[in-house]
């Protein structure tokens, strides 16, 4: 009798272990390998590998991870920063990523890029996935998913990604099997290096809109972001990166300016600082004005570094030995990546 019970329990435990492990393995197998495919999808998860001691956190969409270089901010200004941005990251996703960040650390300054205020609804499931999948499970992630889902999406698909990605069985290749447990780092403190050059010629004018007011939902999350920063003693700075497209309307600019003024926030529109930053859209963009390349990103980061040291509480931390040692490794990797990408371009 006793023996029977032991066999039953052993069998039960073995069954559960087999089920859990096969489902885990299948999930890992079926999930997209962002680091070798659509690399933007890998950005959010990389934050958790960091030592969480940043003075400055950038949050926003592609206009942050393509346009600001934390390496330059450290190397030339001693500011330890990280970019929490992903492709078409919506205002509410940025807010919840900020909440998520605050579980780990409390930076002195947060910079939010305002382009995403143009969206009041989720745009595409693929972008949702890239912004949300990398987040670790916290109440912030639950709320981020709930507020971002499109009509066709289901919360359970985020909890069990196999339910979403099971259809990838048709497109599996060798790398899906060899990279079940490994992933390469694709960013440098959230910055995505692009060294190519594609001049901005014939940038289209913005089409006429029926309504230029930012949506209620987007603005509500900007409010929440402002309040969250205030509660935590963080200075929130609004920026508009110098991307020529999507078109940045004067009406939008006025709304952001008015908001910044009303809430006593600093606001930098880099589109209005082309001369000061020295940007040249013939050489400083890799996709005809949508995003800056390394050269462009370094130019505006220099301007930002100066601005931050002169206008905020941020101070030069290059004197801290352990942080410097950490950054030395990062800078070496950064330089190596720049070299590699330049080599690829040539």
């Amino acid at each position: 009798m006793k023996n029977d019970t032991r066999v039953t329990y052993t069998r039960l435990i073995a069954t559960i272990l087999i089920i859990v492990s096969t489902l885990f393995l299948l999930t890992r197998l079926m999930m997209p390998k962002y680091d070798i495919g659509v690399t933007e999808g890998a950005l959010v998860a990389e934050y958790y590998d960091e030592i969480k001691d940043h003075d400055l956190i950038f949050i926003g969409d592609c206009e942050v991870y393509d346009n600001f270089s934390p390496a330059v901010l450290w190397q030339d200004y001693g500011i330890n920063s990280y970019i929490r941005g992903s492709a078409q990251q919506l205002a509410w996703q940025s807010y919840y990523l900020l909440e998520d960040t605050l579980y780990h650390e409390k930076p002195a300054v947060v910079i939010f890029n305002v382009l995403s205020l143009m969206y009041n609804e989720p745009q595409r499931e693929a972008y949702n996935r890239m912004s949300l999948e990398g987040m670790r499970w916290t109440p912030a992630k639950v709320r981020a998913i709930s507020s971002s889902m499109m009509g066709s999406e289901h919360f359970l698909d985020y909890v069990f990604p196999l339910l979403r990605y099971h259809s990838r069985w048709k497109e599996l290749d060798v790398t899906d099997f060899t990279r079940i447990f490994t992933r390469d780092k694709v960013s440098h403190n959230g910055f995505f290096i692009n060294v190519g050059v594609r001049p901005a010629i014939n940038v289209p004018e913005g089409r006429i809109l029926g309504n230029y007011d930012f949506g209620e939902k987007a603005m509500a999350y900007l409010d929440k972001m402002t309040a969250l920063c205030r509660e935590n003693g963080i200075e929130l700075i609004l920026v508009k990166a110098p991307s020529l497209y999507p078109y940045w309307y004067d009406e939008w600019e006025e709304q952001v300016k008015a908001y910044a003024q009303a809430h006593d926030l600093k606001y930098l529109n880099f589109l209005a600082l082309i001369e000061e930053t020295g940007l040249d859209f013939m050489t400083d963009t890799y996709n005809a004005g949508l995003h800056l390349n390394l050269s462009g990103a370094e130019k505006i980061t220099h301007y930002l570094g100066e601005f931050l040291l002169n206008n905020t509480s941020l101070a030069d931390r290059r004197g801290e030995a352990s942080l410097r040692a950490e950054w030395e490794k990062k800078l070496a990797a950064y330089d190596q990546e720049v070299e590699r990408k330049r080599g690829e371009e040539e």
């Binding site: 069954t15 087999i18 089920i19 299948l26 339910l163 979403r164 099971h166 069985w169 048709k170």
Partner: protein, 520 residues
């Protein structure tokens, strides 16, 4: 709430857990609450329809039953003349109300469209506008189920249920509410209202049946649905051999979809300890269309046989017709005329029940034609078999009969696929006029929205279904598997679960396909 949705799985989990936690005597009440909740989620307005059917049938059946119960108190002659007529009037009223609801909600626009065609044909310019009428989910199924109870009470086969809520559960029992089977009160009540103890063997068997249903629906039916809709959506592009392919695909889709849905229904009921009758017995192994209809959608066929065919055949006008035809057409043919006519009515109604369109009516009548022609040719077959007696027992001949029946069925079913009847005939014509057989092997089939990988999965799925069907001839496959060692069972069932999980056509990127029979 689709049977294959996360919501339905969640709904079942809550129900199964609470069902076995509460006292047994309350289990049927919980089922009633969940059945109405299920229907409420589908559409709050639908509740009014099902409640109306439940209330009227319950009321009239009790009235009828009261007369039956007091039969002995009446004088025999009085009962036969007065009471029987009263019972008939009550039955007629109940039918009028309930078939009226069914007709108005399901067939009004069909009637309007036909009236408009008629007006156009006689040169009139006036047309009636189509109405925006709600068609409650599963109305054909629950109406027929409720009517079967009414007929059985009228005939005295069963006594009327005295508890309104029990009857309400019989009508609304959610697993079979939207696609059958059309159960009989006498059969279902044996397990529907009794208390059930937690029985791990029974629950595991029910869950296995549900899983098998999910496999058929998600891995096969919803996968091949893309190919079917591509072929029928563009008849101009897909003629000739494509029509044949479309027929085959549709046969597979319909089988996997409908039997998969019924597997889920029976499995859910089994987990709850309730026995729901089987609705299929390996129909594609039938050797004639007549046999096919005894093995496909069994509960519907039995319903029409019991409540339409027999009553119509023995009705006074039909008996008069029988007499007349025997006198004028001879004994042999005269005997068959009323049967053929009753059969015609049954198949006409069967077609109409399936859908408010001429496609379905023609489909029903095509079935009738094939069955009647087969019957008429039976003496010829018998002579043939007498001349070649060895043929009958041969496997190759059985295979030929199965293939012949399947092919015929595929042709008849194509009426349900294409937009209208003339297009169906036109597409049959292209099978002769368009010489494009090469599409079967030159890769053209990969342009139907199905990749090679999809075809491999479908091929495997078909083989699995055929294996299960062959195994079923000797008894239930689940019972057979239950005798195997634990790890063999685990590998098989967990393997099937993983197949559904990985290869199932569900989630983002797939359209959540409604079960085809939900639409009836």
């Amino acid at each position: 709430m689709l049977f294959t949705s996360y919501e339905f799985i969640g709904f079942l989990l809550v129900l199964f857990t609470s069902y076995y936690l509460i006292p047994k005597k309350h289990q049927w009440k919980l089922l009633l609450a969940f059945s109405y909740l299920f229907y409420f989620i589908a559409g709050p307005v639908y509740l009014l329809y099902i409640a109306a059917t439940t209330a009227t049938i319950f009321f009239f059946a009790r009235k009828i039953d009261n007369f039956t119960l007091r039969q002995k108190e009446y004088d025999k002659k009085f009962y036969k003349t007065i009471i029987k007529s009263k019972k008939w009037r009550l039955l007629f009223l109940a039918l009028l109300i309930n078939l009226g609801i069914l007709a108005v909600s399901k067939y009004t626009n069909f009637a309007i469209a036909n009236a408009n065609s008629l007006l156009r044909a006689v040169g009139s310019e006036s047309q009636f506008g189509l109405r925006n009428i709600i068609v409650p989910l599963g109305i054909s199924f629950y109406t027929f189920q409720a009517l079967s109870y009414l007929f059985d009470v009228y005939r005295g086969t069963i006594s009327a249920e005295r508890n309104f809520f029990r009857f309400a559960l019989f009508v609304s029992f959610f697993p079979q509410l939207i696609q059958g089977p059309i159960s009989r009160f006498g059969d279902l009540k044996k397990t529907l209202f009794s208390g059930h103890s937690f029985d791990s063997k029974q629950i595991s068997s029910g869950l296995q049946r549900i899983l098998w249903g999910f496999f058929k629906k998600l891995v096969i039916a919803d996968r091949i649905a893309a190919g079917v809709s591509e072929i029928i959506r563009e008849p101009d592009l897909y003629g000739g051999a494509y029509v044949f392919v479309g027929m085959l695909f549709f046969a597979l889709e319909l089988y996997a979809d409908f039997t998969g849905g019924i597997d889920i229904t029976i499995g859910v009921a089994e987990v709850l300890g309730i026995k729901v009758a089987e609705n299929f017995r390996r129909p594609y192994f039938s050797k004639s269309i007549k046999e096919f209809w005894k093995r496909w959608h069994i509960s519907m066929g039995a319903w029409f046989t019991d409540y339409v065919f027999y009553p119509v055949t023995v009705s006074k006008p039909m008996l008069r017709l029988s007499k007349w035809s025997r006198r004028n057409l001879g004994q042999a043919l005269g005997k068959r005329v009323p049967i053929y006519l009753s059969s015609f009515i049954v198949w006409f109604l069967t077609g109409l029940w399936h859908g408010a369109s001429w496609n379905f009516i023609v489909w029903g009548l095509a079935n009738w034609t094939v069955i009647m022609v087969s019957q008429e040719l039976e003496p010829l077959y018998n002579r043939f078999h007498k001349s070649f007696p060895a043929l009958k027992g041969k496997l190759s001949f059985k295979f030929f009969q199965i293939l012949r029946t399947f092919t015929l069925m595929c042709f008849i079913r194509s009426f349900n696929c294409y937009r209208d009847v003339p297009i169906t005939f036109k597409m049959w014509g292209t099978m002769v006029t368009e010489r494009n057989v090469r599409i079967l092997w030159d890769g053209s089939l990969l342009g139907l929205g199905l990749s090679l990988a999809d075809f491999i999965i479908l091929g495997f799925g078909v083989l699995l279904i055929v294996w299960v069907s062959l195994k079923q001839r000797k008894g239930p496959v689940r019972e057979y598997l239950s005798t195997k060692p634990y790890w063999v069972k685990f590998v098989l069932w967990y393997g099937l679960f993983l197949m559904v999980l990985i290869f199932g056509a569900y989630g983002v990127g797939y359209d959540a396909s409604q079960f085809i029979y939900n639409q009836f």
